[in-house]
Symmetry: C2
Subunit: 613 residues, 2 copies
């Protein structure tokens, strides 16, 4: 058994035998249920070598990775030799971890009780409750959940520390709503719910509430912290012990926050605080969101006789998703600047490839980063750029390798999915362009995905409509030609915050959250042709009011993203007049708005690219 | 206080005072949760004079009718003078009966306990559970549900009897699946669920299982009964005491059923049976569907120490909705015959109106009934015909009055929504036709609703897709022009059974039931212009397989209804090429299939009506 990961799994099994655990769940998240984590919480990768999203379950005779359609190919490449088997999710016959645990036969154990150990720091209580519910549903009553925070630390010698980066604050003129206003809004919520305090645990919700940003997680401008807001106190639990004197940004931010009544406490103090919460009348009622409150903190709260917990959806999630006028203006500026960078990049790409120069997918990603970094207020990318030519674009979450990435050829389709973080907004765009002659299938796929993109972009819908009720508008052109894609069509996006946020989305899943004016969501239908090519057209759309009459109130989308859609690979006969009109108007708008700020040769090139079809 | 209904409400209040009830719910259904009821269970109409769907709640100081958008206009006409107020449902700020009861202030009562009396015969346990849940959610803990079956009988002197009509059986060659096969399939279900017996309470489910039909409820060919299937017995509880010797059909049916092992018991014996159910081991586990099991029977079961109940969705509902090949062939025949009758009718209507003859909406309905009744195997209509010209068509559930119905003019739109019951199937069709010049708004509405109808008719979707995920295909052309309609787009339909059945539907509500090959559903988008006109285009569609490839399995619809769509009111510029092609192909198919069996003058007329646009 040479494989380093197989050895790690065996070491975990030694601990399991010692402690009497029958199963261990290796969490795919951090103490805040973050989608992306700082390296300290790359537990799944440390255990398995697999670097995508997912969770691992280890029993004494089995080890499995649970992940969804997006990562099947990657898992198939990275898992062999580890002894870890792939369990597929988001497939019709999926068995999720809770059901699997509740129904699997365990090898004989010391006692009859099935012990499932979870890293309570990194498992939300809603996840643990799912496991408990599955055991109840299976009729298997002899089980226990073992809270084992930091279970890997004794094996993981060089485990990275909790990150601690500089913190900045955003002014009211940048965000429209001051932290004092947000806190007083939260206190109204507490009065309605008859609670004494709210504990915010999701990092983007905390950053939004305090109007602070950091860079503790790559691409996600958040600060590792907890926020406890009561009727008379605001306590922010954040890594603060070793702020270097040179870090004037953080020092200034702390001063500003203190001036606004925010007490700065240490990140690790949250456990002590929750354990000792009390009130004159002996009961302190805390509101928390079970989808991001971790099991360990929950247990601490439950162990405090003076505290009680009301769980429910955090009010911040919805409020944060509905951008105010200042945020909308910022997002529009971000898309204007980002569009200029994209057009400069696409011009550079086409002329460079056509000149016969040898450039790789990675070179292209670097070049785009250079264009973006020239924008004042640029704070880095909003996620790792996907720069893929040919079959690389057929991988849903292609990571463009630094070394040995494919050389871009002068034919076929090139796909770029990327985005920037700016002090005034966040972008996320995908454009697919032809770098020369394309196959008929490439053209057909390109055009049909475009029909879906336009179908959703043109949508009009009554107030109260949820994303799952309009998702088909992006899919029906594909379904009609017996094509489909296994993911969502759209996700919410933060204002200089995480590139993925809820509560709304546009996908097949039954998410009842309505699309509300002010929400910004992506519109990104796609096709993957394994081994051949991939197509994706992605713009961000803002929900706005459309009309109000005897039939009700109607909403529509305004496309924020400004970057032309390549007309070269289009099979015109597949577009109807309405679709052609939308496309021509969109490309004309891109030219009109961007050309005044583009270098003359790029503007001239863009004029040709945006001629009507 | 002269109003007869106001007096009835007061009489009910006298009973309430005597019994100490704080609220009484007047059920809008019968002991089987039927959508349409025999006259004995027209309680709501008896109490209020209001003849639409809905439920009434009476307290000592309030009386209210709860009903949805379809009936607001009708309620507004029928309620004045009764003292009963309209409570609107299916509107954004609706407060349903359970929430209303749990939160309303009651006038001081004899004791602190709020007593809500329900007619346990006519209230499903799921309805009662909703009330209990609402009280729990409101934090109001002092309430009790009083089971008061037959509560109105002492006031309602001439209350009609439980109906008892002739019963027929359908042969295996008519239905494809024998009752013996269906019973053995139910027994497999019982084994899976580890239950001893299943109690079927929904009338259409019983008719389907036993392959029997009756006419106990207008338009619904069902038999008032209960069915108890155990591992070794099949007991059918049905009105049988006074079968006249002349009723050879029923006598023969009972013989046939007995020969297949079905014991015929009296309808009223179900209560005794459930009260005395027992087993050797002292526990008899019964499966029942809480949405159609009434509260009274449930209480009887709960009072039997030897019985226990497992509640869940009846397996019959889904199985019944997936038509087998014999049923599909029958439904196609029904639509062929029904289409001939419709074309004869539309030809008659147009020529008669154009000849200057005075005919009313009601005359037209009668004439259509005549054409249908000439079809061998015709068993009556599947619901009350809506025959409406002009503004009558703007009422969602217009009842064409026998006396004083509108004279049909030689201009504008005429709408006919009707259907037939045949031994080999059930139909439900709406056609809107121009009887001369139309206004621009009529034409625009006509064309836009047609776009929606075609959008859904052409739908292709992956296996597993639910109706709410494709409903938008019928709505988006309306939404784009800021139009909408407040109902569902499609309902399931039985095989020579109820014209409305589940479990699938096509509407905005989140019904997770997938559309499965073999299901037949209506496609009926519409527009109502109050005071002006209404448009509806309705055909039934059969779900069939479309393709299977690397992207999955795809399904589509086949339109079963055969009757041309009038091209006269169409604004051609509003249809795209794909829509025109669908329409021309459909009309050509109607002509090709129907014309050989139509009288020559109708066939010639139909040729002109189906020329391509």
């Amino acid at each position: 058994m040479e494989n380093i990961y197989a050895k790690r799994v065996e070491k975990i099994r030694s601990i399991m035998r010692k402690k009497g655990w029958d199963a261990v769940i290796i969490s795919g998240s951090d103490p805040h249920s973050s989608e992306y984590m700082a390296p300290r919480w790359h537990q799944v990768e440390w255990v398995s070598g697999y670097s995508g999203e997912g969770e691992i379950v280890i029993t004494l005779d089995h080890a499995g990775l649970w992940t969804d359609t997006r990562y099947f190919i990657q898992a198939a490449k990275q898992l062999p030799g580890t002894g870890i088997e792939l369990h597929k999710t988001r497939v019709p016959d999926q068995v999720l971890i809770p059901e699997w645990l509740a129904n699997v036969a365990f090898p004989s154990t010391n006692d009859k009780l099935v012990a499932v150990a979870v890293d309570g720091d990194c498992q939300a209580i809603s996840d643990v409750n799912d496991i408990i519910d599955a055991f109840k549903a299976s009729g298997r009553e002899e089980y226990k959940i073992v809270n084992a925070p930091e279970m890997l630390s004794e094996l993981w010698e060089d485990r990275p520390d909790i990150p601690q980066t500089s913190i900045i604050t955003l002014g009211d003129e940048q965000v429209g709503w001051s932290r004092i206003q947000k806190i007083s809004w939260l206190r109204k919520f507490l009065m309605e719910k008859e609670c004494d305090a709210i504990l915010l645990t999701a990092l983007d919700e905390i950053a939004w509430t305090l109007n602070v940003r950091g860079s503790d997680i790559d691409y996600n401008p958040v600060v590792m912290s907890y926020l406890l807001v009561s009727m008379d106190e605001v306590n922010w639990y954040v890594k603060k012990r070793a702020i270097p004197k040179s870090d004037q940004e953080t020092i200034d931010s702390f001063y500003e926050l203190k001036a606004d009544g925010v007490n700065i406490r240490d990140y690790s103090d949250i456990a002590i605080e929750l354990a000792s919460l009390s009130d004159e009348d002996g009961d302190r009622k805390l509101f928390a969101d079970p989808s991001t409150l971790n099991y360990n903190l929950y247990n601490i709260l439950m162990g405090n006789p003076s505290a009680s917990v009301m769980t429910g959806k955090s009010p911040v999630a919805l409020r944060k998703s509905i951008k105010n006028s200042v945020e909308i203006a910022g997002m529009k500026e971000a898309h204007y600047e980002d569009g200029l960078a994209m057009e400069k990049f696409l011009h550079w790409l086409e002329t460079t490839v056509n000149s016969g120069a040898i450039i790789s997918e990675y070179d292209a990603a670097v070049k785009l980063g250079e264009f973006r970094s020239q924008i004042p207020g640029y704070r880095g990318d909003s996620f790792e750029t996907v720069s893929a030519w040919g079959e690389g674009a057929a991988l849903p979450h292609y990571i463009t390798p630094k070394d040995g990435s494919t050389t871009i050829g002068n034919h076929g389709l090139y796909l770029n999915d990327s985005g920037g973080q700016y002090l005034f907004g966040t972008t996320d765009i995908t454009r697919t362009v032809a770098l020369g002659p394309c196959t008929h299938l490439e053209k057909e796929d390109y055009t049909i995905v475009l029909k879906g993109h336009i179908g959703l972009a043109m949508a009009v819908f009554p107030k109260g409509t949820a994303g799952c009720q309009i998702d088909v508008l992006a899919r029906e052109p594909m379904w009609k030609t017996f094509r489909n894609f296994g993911h969502g069509t759209g996700h919410g996006i933060g204002f200089y915050l995480n590139v993925h946020e809820g509560p709304q989305d546009i996908r097949q899943n039954f998410n009842r959250q309505a699309i509300v004016p002010g929400m910004i969501t992506s519109n990104e239908p796609r096709i993957y042709r394994e081994g051949l090519h991939g197509v994706r057209h992605e713009s961000l759309v803002l929900c706005v009011e459309a009309d109000k009459n005897e039939f009700g109130e109607f909403l529509k989308f305004e496309t924020l993203t400004l970057c032309h859609i390549d007309t070269a690979p289009i099979i015109k006969e597949l577009l109807n007049d309405e679709e052609k009109t939308w496309l021509n108007e969109y490309n004309e708008r891109v030219y009109r708005e961007l050309s005044p700020r583009l270098p003359i040769e790029v503007a001239q090139w863009l004029r040709k690219k945006t001629l009507p079809i």
